[in-house]
Symmetry: C2
Subunit: 352 residues, 2 copies
Amino acid sequence: MSKPTLAVVGATGAVGTVMLDILSNRPDVWGEIRLIASPRSAGKVLRVRGEDVVVQALSPEAFDGVDVAMFDVPDEVSAEWAPIAAARGAVAVDNSGAFRMDPDVPLVVPECNPEAARVRPKGIISNPNCTTLSMMAAMGALHREYGLKALVVASYQAVSGAGVAGPERLYDEVAALAGDRAIGTVAGDVRKAVPDLADSPFPAPIAFNVVPWAGSLKEDGWASEELKVRNESRKILGIPDLKVSATCVRVPVVTTHSLAVHATFSKPVTVEGARAILDAAPTVVVLDDPAAGVFPTPADVVGTDPTYVGRIRQALDFPDTLDLFVCGDNLRKGAALNTAEIAELVAAELSA
Amino acid sequence: MSKPTLAVVGATGAVGTVMLDILSNRPDVWGEIRLIASPRSAGKVLRVRGEDVVVQALSPEAFDGVDVAMFDVPDEVSAEWAPIAAARGAVAVDNSGAFRMDPDVPLVVPECNPEAARVRPKGIISNPNCTTLSMMAAMGALHREYGLKALVVASYQAVSGAGVAGPERLYDEVAALAGDRAIGTVAGDVRKAVPDLADSPFPAPIAFNVVPWAGSLKEDGWASEELKVRNESRKILGIPDLKVSATCVRVPVVTTHSLAVHATFSKPVTVEGARAILDAAPTVVVLDDPAAGVFPTPADVVGTDPTYVGRIRQALDFPDTLDLFVCGDNLRKGAALNTAEIAELVAAELSA
């Protein structure tokens, strides 16, 4: 058959923009690439694979002839439109939270559970949340060898995880504060100096600060993002009783989520063994030579595809446990890249 | 007896500067307050308790007549001079790492082990490391009720923990990057745009970044700061077999360390019970109403004395375990304030 047709829904958003860049640099498995967005953005011309493409307005007919439709839109838009795309014959690959925990929708990380992408009773495949995704390639590799039992995770999440408004807000706050060489030294001085917080996607100042909150409030004080790390890790890795505690914290980094991970396994672990496993994982890069100043940091890995792991240590007091520091670009592997990889799995299946 | 004489050694440093402010606002238990610094700073005039005081050069004679000598200087300076001060009859209260793990030197947090300050065979009392101190008031209160067994900690450490050069560096980097509304989006762009890293106290850019490193390299890939959290928590709380894993990460915050803490106890815990204990602790403030946007952040608590706790959650999968987010000003309770409180314990003892 001819190459399948791909639709990118939400092509003008933060993840959509990265998606167009990624699609321009991946193996050319697609025939037509159709760009779809809200009526407000329809008519815009965007560049993908070296061609100018006019953005179409979201409508049922926009999915006619589409084989795979990627969705990078808010939950409620995906909830409405992914089933419409599926009903029109497309496989929907959805990056929202709308379907991730639906038992009839697979949640796929190609390094962990590629086979799950083939079983999609609703015609929908979900892409995991960016925080979970930032560590899955690494944790999946270690799990296959050692059997993961428990994760204690603290995140250092970039502002672009909140959409295009996140970096805009950080740049605005930094611009308002730069040049004040006493800022951040008196309680509330940052809060007073930044633009109106009512206009921020964050519930507190994010420049010169860290904010222990991501997502919405769920029961017993948990943030939705923290529960996603738990529930999605369990589903992706196929470990229903995986023990997880996550604390999600926003930091003044534009793009690339970092995670301090305390991972307990069912078999004995060694640093050398873990390093060998991670070195051998095709999409994982080990940066771990602190004596030489080598460890992953967001500023050094942003805009690239791999999952980076450093600071690999054997826990001194906890058996079969490793402490790690993991970085992954939340817009690439954490969102657009993984979605593209899932779509390519489907394309290969359709072309087979 | 008349009020005891206090010496502040390192009066011109990052912690020393905060110390003078703190001494100007604490109960007036001191007679003379003598300021001591390196010969380079001698002759400077600094203000404390509303008076101008001329800084004296560090010398053995500078300790004559001193009852309590606080040291806020590098390890090697303390290692040499705290014993000299003690030999001259002063009780040395040392904020360096030189003596913290010495079995003949008590390591004191007044909320946790005030009685330890009375037994000081070397005439020296150590003040804990700022990262450990930022959570001790809270963890000590919970330990007394529930019996602490294990801590998994990830830190969000402020740049002023690295001394006055830390904030200077952060301000310099922010000044170099502000106005570039694409910075932080390409690997290495921050590294290229900031001033020469050879002049930085940090091993990677700290603006628009997080750096998973604090201290010096110890065996098996651990950073000295991470081992301090383990060893000092054990000593302060009197739990020699406390299980601890810490990952220490520097963030672009000027002052106030934050910690994501996963704490396991020997008795059943509840969020309500923990909140009541922390609410009752005199130096702990609970900020924990995420629905109203209430949780501690560095920008809101910097420059104040308490230990702040929020995001109190019962771990979903780990028995007898709480997840918390803790903030404390690393220059105040994390350094100068705790040193002042220890010195006041000694002053009360000397005056009794």
